[in-house]
């Protein structure tokens, strides 16, 4: 457990250091600051400093106090259970918006945006097929029904405009 505790606190110290560096003008308030005011950088500087000092104490305490001998996960299965959920979730969030970058002259698209509805169909259907081991007709029902119900509830009911796919932009699909 100790290396994980130290590593987590070290990450917090790093964030604090970056924030303190960004707010290094804390002691030199910009022109126009009201008399008595401490300026825009003072507050984030000291919030970061407090965070850093607290994390240093956490590091110290985790080094000097006895820690549980077992690891942070109860076994390989529990790591896989989390990864099985986390990785498809990250892919899902990425696929909705697509992958690409933009320069001044051109937009490069590696994966076109699938939009919310196609992304959800792929994600929920894929999860049912991979984790649930459902038969193909059940998977088909899930990947059609869920996006439809969400469309009816959010897009029509609450008028929430969810992200659309590249096929919508091309005028091929209504979502």
């Amino acid at each position: 457990m100790r290396p994980y505790q130290v590593g987590t606190a070290a990450a917090i110290i790093l964030i604090a250091a970056v924030a303190m560096f960004d707010s290094r003008a804390a002691f030199n308030p910009s022109a126009g600051t009201a008399p008595g005011d401490v300026g825009a950088r003072w507050y984030p500087f000291w919030a970061a400093a407090i965070m850093g000092v607290a994390a240093v104490v956490v590091v110290y305490r985790s080094l000097v106090t006895p820690q549980a001998a077992e690891g942070v996960f109860s076994g390989r299965d529990s790591v896989f259970a989390v990864l099985k959920l986390a990785i498809p979730m990250l892919l899902y969030a990425t696929l909705i918006g697509g992958v690409g970058w933009r320069t001044e002259e051109f937009t490069y698209t590696v994966i076109p945006p699938l939009g919310f509805y196609i992304g959800t169909a792929v994600y929920m259907g894929g999860f049912a097929w991979w984790i649930g081991r459902y038969k193909i007709w059940s998977v088909a029902a899930i990947l059609v029904l869920f996006p439809l119900v969400i469309y009816a509830a959010f897009e029509l009911g609450f008028r929430v405009n969810l992200p659309k796919s590249f096929l919508y932009d091309l005028g091929v699909l209504p979502f």
Binding site: G97, Y123, Y134, I150
Partner: protein, 520 residues
């Protein structure tokens, strides 16, 4: 009495068809959220918060901000009741505040074969606890708010400091971890523009960060995604007990008889739960454990605890529900959330264009009294639904993991995107989901992070207004008796963990000296 007139007006607002319809939907959603082990009350409220924007802005006929708060709070009431069903029937807590019901609720249901009595005991005590708390809320809210109207920046800053000190001094986790999370929340709240000078800060050149880090996607990530990752690790919906979920009239009558025998316990736990819930960061979960401890401490049948003792169900439930209601008191009256869930509800107020705090009572009395009246109605509705629909709610536990888990992720993504139509918010949700999961594993408390993120801007504003008023002198914070008292109380609270450590060390040293040395 002015309060009764205001409350009558509140009931007139809350009883409007649109408000009652949304309250009913919210309570049902809350019960479902409460039953699902991968989804907590806080995350449920956070995920559905963006929907309330559309409710508050009149997407539904006749709906307004009062409808939105009734809806959001209704989810919380449902979740407060619903979490216990799975603890009692399946030995799986649906909510953190229902963990304590594993001690006596499940044994009464399984070993003693009385699941109906266990459920009915929980529901009647929850209802009574919430009722007592709501009555106290009704009579305490206005005087607190009127007093708070006289606060200047020094007093307001002192109140914020006190609420942060409570999170550090009385928190269950290591105080330094609480402090680190608190400071992280303040830091995240500072990203974007400085509200006083308009200067950019902590955006590292990213234009998308200029508007700051929105509270909602962070909370959905920390609580919604973080919780389902944690439940995936525990293989959440794996082994499920299969007890009868029927609840008959006989069970309810017997529960009422048992309640009568324990009326003093339930009422006193409800009052204690109320005052405990008012303290920032101490919502229903901490109160439930306190309530269990008190029930056991003052019971004549201590040996029955852990074996299905009804006081072990009624005591914690009365305290938990009472604290849940009470956590809204500081949010409404002072603009300080009493629990992570009330922090999310408070974020809702900001999003709907309202300023939580004492001014609400003056500018939007319909809103405040409509909310208070809806707490009475919401708990009555939840109580009736629980008595009637337990078998249906228990069936939710049988929805397969491969469907319910990705569905929660999908709803979380909708929630985070729809507030600002921003894919950046979606990524913030996912990233904070992973961060929240990890912080939970490392035993960093999330409540200080969330509360500080919500209060960060106001804290900085009041601090700097006070410094400007005091020409830069920190002594300005000690100008009034109230702010001095609040600051000193905060100092004492922060020092509590230090005193505890010193006392434990001293006890260990004394024990080490007096203990006989082991034989060589």
């Amino acid at each position: 009495m002015e309060v009764f007139g205001q409350l009558a007006g509140g009931f007139a607002t809350a009883l409007q068809p649109i408000n009652m319809a949304m309250l009913f939907i919210a309570v049902v959603l809350g019960l479902v959220i409460g039953v699902l082990p991968g989804l907590g009350g806080t995350s449920g409220v956070a995920i559905l918060l963006p929907v309330t924007v559309f409710i508050a802005h009149g997407s539904l006929p006749g709906s307004d901000a009062t409808t939105a708060i009734i809806f959001l709070a209704g989810i919380y009431w449902g979740a407060l009741f619903g979490g216990v069903i799975t603890s009692i029937l399946f030995n799986i807590p649906g909510e953190p505040w229902a963990v304590v019901l594993l001690f006596d609720g499940f044994p009464l249901a399984k070993r003693l074969g009385r699941p109906g009595l266990a459920l009915a005991s929980s529901f009647v005590s929850s209802f009574l606890g919430a009722l007592v708390s709501t009555i106290l809320f009704t009579f305490f809210a206005l005087p607190i708010a009127l007093k708070a109207l006289q606060f200047g920046p020094a007093e307001l800053f002192a109140v914020f400091v006190l609420s942060f000190a409570t999170l550090i001094g009385l928190g269950a986790e290591a105080p330094m971890k609480s402090l680190a999370m608190l400071a992280l929340g303040l830091l995240l709240a500072a990203v974007g523009f400085d509200t006083i000078t308009g200067e950019q800060r902590l955006n590292f050149g990213f234009i998308s960060l200029l508007s700051g880090i929105s509270f909602v996607p962070v909370t959905i990530g920390l609580f919604g995604i973080g919780e389902i990752l944690a439940s995936a690790e525990e293989q959440g919906i794996g082994y499920v007990e299969n007890l009868s979920a029927r609840l008959g009239l006989r069970d309810v009558v017997q529960a009422l008889v048992e309640l009568r025998k324990r009326l003093r316990l339930v009422l006193s736990n409800a009052v204690i739960g109320f005052f405990f819930g008012v303290l920032p960061g101490h919502g229903a979960t901490a109160a439930s454990f306190l309530g269990y401890g008190l029930a056991r401490q003052y019971s004549k049948n201590k040996e029955n605890f852990g074996k299905g003792e009804i006081s072990g169900i009624m005591g914690p439930q009365a305290a938990a529900d009472s604290a849940g209601v009470a956590s809204l008191v500081p949010m409404i009256t002072l603009g300080i959330p009493g629990s992570p869930t009330s922090a999310v509800i408070m974020a809702g107020l900001f999003v709907w264009g309202l300023q939580p705090g004492p001014v609400l009572f003056i500018q939007h009395p319909d809103f405040v009294w409509g909310l208070i009246a809806s707490i009475y109605l919401g708990h009555l509705l939840t109580f009736i639904l629980c008595l009637l629909a337990v078998p249906l709610l228990a069936m939710i536990m049988r929805v397969p993991y491969a469907i319910i888990t990705p569905f929660i992720v999908v709803i979380s993504i909708i929630g985070s995107y729809s507030l600002n139509n921003s894919m950046l918010d979606v990524f913030i949700t996912v990233v904070f989901g992973v961060i929240g999961y990890w912080l939970r594993k490392m035993k960093y408390p999330l409540a200080p992070l969330v509360v500080a993120l919500v209060l960060g801007d106001s804290t900085e504003r009041e601090l700097r207004k006070a410094l400007i008023a005091g020409h830069g002198s920190p002594l300005y914070f000690f100008n009034s008796g109230l702010s001095t008292a609040l600051m000193l109380t905060a100092l004492v609270l922060v020092l509590i963990p230090l005193f505890r450590t010193l006392r434990a060390r001293r006890a260990a040293t004394v024990a080490g000296v007096s203990a006989p040395k082991p034989a060589p």
